[in-house]
């Protein structure tokens, strides 16, 4: 089963679609969660997800705004989609009928 941050990364990568790469995924996570995401956490998680076969990464093109440096492109694999879907179902099932309110 995926971890929470792994799920966030896969979700962000899936939302970015064909344009998913390190900086874009980081931006997506920070906008979604309203928390900062460190480069260290992002890239070590990407490595772990890739070793599990949940995402595929490759070196993309370089752009001027990156100072001519290449991007690490990310795409979610079919296995990754299945795992993320399973994680979402588990969390939904675990929280079904619960109302989180501080009394």
């Amino acid at each position: 089963m995926l971890g929470e941050f792994e799920y966030l990364v896969i979700s962000a990568a899936a939302r970015c679609g064909e344009n998913g790469y390190g900086a874009a995924i980081r931006e997506e996570i920070e906008q979604t969660t309203k928390r900062s995401c460190s480069i260290g956490a992002l890239y070590t998680t990407l490595d772990r997800l890739e070793s599990k076969g949940l995402i595929k990464t490759w070196m993309g093109e370089s752009t001027a705004e990156r100072g001519g440096r290449a991007k690490r492109m990310v795409r979610v694999t079919e296995k990754g989609v299945r795992e993320a879907s399973a994680f979402y179902r588990e969390v939904t099932r675990a929280t079904r009928g619960l109302v989180w309110e501080v009394k």
């Binding site: 390190g22 900086a23 980081r26 931006e27 460190s38 480069i39 260290g40 956490a41 890239y43 070590t44 070196m59 370089s62 752009t63 705004e65 990156r66 100072g67 440096r69 290449a70 991007k71 690490r72």
Partner: protein, 283 residues
């Protein structure tokens, strides 16, 4: 982007460095925040390396055991050289033990120097292969153990006691040999072969392993023989087949295994020099 960020990123692999610096440039990150980001990734990468058994094995077997053995051999060699140099400078004659000839002593010290050189090279090569990106740390510890474990052991055992005010630079002298004689020994027998071995610059490392093994075995046998003579036969020197057997097994198992032959050498070397407190001193 600041030079500090680019410098910190040097600890990353080339491909990852390019990606990370590109990400930081795209976000416009700079200064302390960018530096903190890069350091975070570097630390995580270094920690991840240690989840594998290989760097731990390198740390224990090469930096620990082989480094300690090399230290014993280095101590035996430096004492041998010191005795000769002191005898020449003070009395103008070669140091003579009364048991072995000057020629034998010179041959033995030369063999010991060659053995240290090749063992260092082979161990450094294996250390780098096992450690990967943690080689800077395991290499540093290998150096420290090879250079300083003798001094540390003497201090801990009480064999050497500093009285009065210890000069502030004394601890630096343990880590970095400051006097010319020690510096030459360390540079030519540890640093140069260590760097060459780590960079795989020495041809045919397997040949080096065989050579170092044979030389080390010779040195070990010589010291053991000396010890038998000095102790009037109380210390039974192992026979040549017994000495050579582990090395033969090591050679059959491959050059990597044979890089760990120094333990009995160092023990015998220490005994011969009277450095091993568990054995009777011989001088």
């Amino acid at each position: 982007m600041s030079w500090a960020v680019r410098l910190a990123a040097c600890a990353l692999e080339a491909v990852e460095r390019e990606v990370v610096l590109g990400d930081l440039a795209e976000r416009g990150s700079s200064g302390a925040h960018a530096l903190f980001d890069v350091f975070g990734l570097v630390v995580r990468r270094q920690l991840l390396i240690w989840t594998n058994w290989r760097p731990w094995f390198a740390l224990l077997a090469i930096a620990g055991i082989s480094g300690y053995c090399l230290n014993g051999m280095l101590a035996a060699l430096s004492i041998g050289i010191f005795e000769q140099v002191e005898a020449w400078l003070r009395y103008g004659v070669p140091y003579n033990t009364g048991v072995t000839s000057f020629r034998d002593d010179v041959i033995r010290m030369t063999c010991l120097a060659v053995a240290i050189f090749w063992l260092t090279a082979v161990n450094a090569s294996i250390l780098r292969r096992l450690s990967g990106r943690a080689a800077w740390l395991t290499g540093l510890l290998f150096y420290l153990v090879a250079v300083d474990s003798f001094a540390v052991r003497n201090l801990l055992s009480g064999a050497v006691v500093y009285r009065g005010n210890v000069p502030w630079w004394r601890p630096i002298g343990w880590v970095l040999p400051l006097n010319p004689a020690s510096l030459c020994l360390v540079v030519f027998l540890l640093v140069i072969p260590g760097i060459c071995g780590a960079l795989e610059k020495l041809p045919a490392m397997a040949t080096a392993a065989v050579l170092s093994t044979l030389v080390a075995a010779f040195v070990c046998g010589s010291h053991a023989h000396d010890m038998q003579i000095y102790s009037n036969g109380e210390f039974p020197a192992p026979s040549w087949p017994v000495i050579l057997a582990p090395y033969a097994v090591g050679q059959l198992a491959g050059p990597r295994v044979s890089a760990f032959p120094a333990w009995p050498n160092a023990r015998a070397g220490n005994r011969a020099c009277g450095l091993d407190r568990t054995q009777p001193a011989v001088r």
